[in-house]
């Protein structure tokens, strides 16, 4: 690699270029300074005053590659540039009009000169609203108009790394740091970005509640994922903005889940589940004093775990058996048909919303579909306890207890066992930034089954009697993991919402984006947090100061 870079840095100048520079120095380049015109995609063209469409001075053609002579500024097309050199001795070096690159007419080849590039790029930086020298002093002005700076960054000498880009990142909230892709690991980076900015997790690790220096597992020489996350949290909030490589976490995760230890692309939802499971295992063992409690006290379960209620009703006798299952995320079915789920249509008609909504799948439609009463097919007959026979039955899910952080997973990857095929559903799903979960709580669902009555059903009433108005059912979004591309190959990008602004985390690159961009994305995992959690996080304007009370906000849940 280093050999290649040095090759790029010092290509031998041809004799003609050396001659030119010996005679004119860089003055010739500088005289072109006011002719360079920048475009927002970082290209630079040459624009002569009073000429809209440059033409070859010999054949007045305008479609071909055109070159402007560095000495006499006449324009020639690729067919006549040689003629120009032969007619005018010493007019060897020219600039490509469309690309602002040096061309030696005598060698018939592109030539490179760092001093020329310097003139062009300083013009480019200037065109983007900054001067090279005063770059560090200029007050950061956040422009919503994002420009592509890639081409400059690729060139990559110290001088060329755009000061604007760097400065903008400094004004980003602390903790925003790019993560390098370690070879198809965007699935991991996407999830890590969301987890690192989940307020309870952030507070847990930053307040040193799992300190890698004190961890008993680590001192015993065992692998410990929470320790690796501690390293990541330290790195992310260190204030350093250069992209970070979470290599040790990847390695550690591989050690824990050997079947997933490949450089292949993985599903970020699977990674999320597997990571939380491993943390739970590591954490749970070190905190065995909570074992008599029925609920796990590990950080992942305190943050993500909720309780699902599932009621199976016998369609013959009407008796219901209820089971409760903990969950750390809810997987929602996304299909064209559940966009039209009856509940959804009814809701739209009721609210008189625009008819477009009826066609577009919405998150509330998916949640309605998730909590609908579902008739189990004749092949899934269950043993009814009161009838004592196998009967057809219906099943309904509802949420008994909401978690602090709600992770909703949209099933975009569909695997059909019968057809043995997989496909990706890439239809758009509309989702709100504020989500009220009270319609999906057990109290509401069970209540609906009995009609509009005010009394406690099946013990749901006293558990969360005030749930319909309780603020704990109000959720706010804080991260969205999106998937672009196809089933086999695609790319995960995370959008984070910090202090009301949205940031796009695409591996190593982080930039601020408009709300519309986030609304229009192909969401795959949605991370919501209880409103109170977000508000609390919002108040901690500077992330550095976290009191112990804030660090442990779930003492009351």
């Amino acid at each position: 690699m280093s050999a290649r870079i040095s090759f790029l840095k010092n290509p031998d100048p041809c004799n003609h270029l050396s001659d030119y520079k010996l005679r004119y120095g860089t003055d010739g380049y500088k005289s072109f300074n006011n002719l360079f015109r920048c475009f927002n995609d970082a290209r630079i063209k040459i624009k002569l005053q009073g000429i809209d469409i440059p033409r070859c001075s010999y054949c007045s053609v305008y479609q071909k590659r055109l070159y402007i002579c560095l000495i006499c500024r006449s324009i020639s097309c690729s067919s006549h540039i040689l003629l120009h050199t032969q007619l005018n001795k010493g007019h060897d070096i020219a600039i490509d009009v469309e690309r602002s690159e040096l061309y030696c007419c005598a060698c018939i080849d592109q030539v490179y000169d760092s001093e020329f590039d310097e003139v062009v790029v300083s013009k480019q930086l200037f065109g983007l609203g900054m001067s090279v020298k005063s770059g560090a002093d200029v007050v950061a002005v956040r422009s919503n108009k994002k420009r592509r700076l890639d081409s400059q960054l690729i060139i990559g000498s110290n001088f060329l790394v755009s000061p604007r880009d760097r400065r903008e990142k400094w004004t980003f909230p602390l903790g925003l740091r790019g993560l390098n892709n370690l070879g198809s690991t965007c699935f991991m980076n996407a999830v890590l970005q969301a987890l690192v900015h989940a307020p309870p997790l952030r507070n847990f690790w930053l307040s040193g509640q799992h300190n890698r220096d004190l961890c008993p597992r680590r001192t015993m020489g065992l692998l410990c994922l929470p320790c690796d996350l501690d390293v990541i949290f330290s790195a992310m909030f260190s204030g350093d903005r250069t992209p970070y490589s979470p290599a040790h976490l990847l390695y550690s995760w591989w050690q824990h889940s050997t079947n997933l230890a490949t450089y292949e692309q993985q599903d970020s939802h699977e990674f999320f589940i597997s990571l939380l499971d491993r943390i739970h295992e590591n954490e749970g063992k070190s905190k065995c004093l909570y074992q008599d409690n029925e609920e796990c006290q590990c950080i992942t379960h305190k943050a993500f775990s909720g309780l699902l209620r599932s009621d199976v009703t016998c369609t013959t006798c009407g008796s219901t058996s209820t089971t409760y299952d903990p969950f750390i995320d809810i997987s929602l079915t996304l299909d064209s048909m559940n966009g039209f789920s009856p509940a959804d249509c009814r809701k739209n008609r009721y609210s008189g919303g625009p008819s477009v909504n009826a066609i577009m799948p919405t998150l509330s439609g998916c949640l309605d579909f998730f909590t609908r009463s579902e008739k189990l097919g004749p092949d899934q007959k269950l043993n009814c306890q009161s009838c004592g026979e196998k009967r057809e039955s219906s099943k309904q899910m509802s949420i008994r207890r909401l978690p602090l952080l709600l992770c909703l997973h949209v099933k975009r990857f569909e695997h059909s066992l019968t057809r043995k095929t997989s496909r990706k559903i890439d239809s758009y799903l509309q989702y709100p930034f504020r989500l009220n979960m009270s319609p999906y709580l057990s109290s509401s669902i069970i209540g609906k089954r009995f009609g509009n009555r005010i009394f406690a059903f099946d013990g749901e009433g006293e558990y969360d009697s005030s749930s319909s108005s309780s603020p704990s059912a109000e959720f706010e979004i804080f991260a969205v993991v999106t998937h672009k591309g196809m089933l086999e190959s695609g790319h995960y990008v995370t959008y984070l919402r910090l202090k009301g602004l949205w940031y796009r985390c695409d591996d190593a690159w982080i930039n601020e984006v408009e709300e519309e961009v986030v609304r229009g994305c192909e969401c795959y995992m949605l991370f919501y947090a209880q409103e109170t959690v977000i508000q609390k996080a919002h108040k901690e304007l500077s992330y550095q100061v976290i009191s112990m009370a804030d660090a442990f906000p779930f003492a009351d849940c």
Partner: protein, 115 residues
């Protein structure tokens, strides 16, 4: 002059343009002037550039260039030669959908400019 003679003519434009007198302003040129003046040409260029990246055409060309450079040896290749070798391949492999979209955009532009 030798080198310039060796170059294949850039397809179609020349053939069409040569049919007319050099001074005469052709319809093609009028459209081009309008496109440039309105700034639509920049938009179209950007559109085509994006489409060609999306459909993998750019990667394909990059690979073709790399192969050619490898074959000839790094020191013995000039940009002009690359252009000469790759251009026919490149023009031939632009997907029809991209061409159709561009044509459609130009047609729309002409219609709106004529109104």
């Amino acid at each position: 002059m030798k080198h310039s003679v060796n170059r294949p003519p850039t397809p179609d434009e020349d053939d069409v343009a040569d049919g007319f007198e050099k001074d005469k302003v052709t319809l093609r040129e009028i459209i081009n002037v309008k496109l440039v003046e309105s700034g639509e040409k920049e938009n179209l260029m950007e559109l085509v550039r994006d489409r060609l990246v999306e459909c993998g055409w750019k990667d394909e060309m990059r690979i073709a260039c790399r192969e050619h450079v490898k074959k000839k040896g790094r020191k013995d290749v000039t940009v002009d030669e690359l252009i000469r070798v790759i251009t026919p391949k490149g023009r031939a492999s632009v997907p029809d959908s991209v061409k159709a979209e561009l044509l459609n955009r130009i047609q729309n532009f002409i219609v709106s400019a004529a109104l």
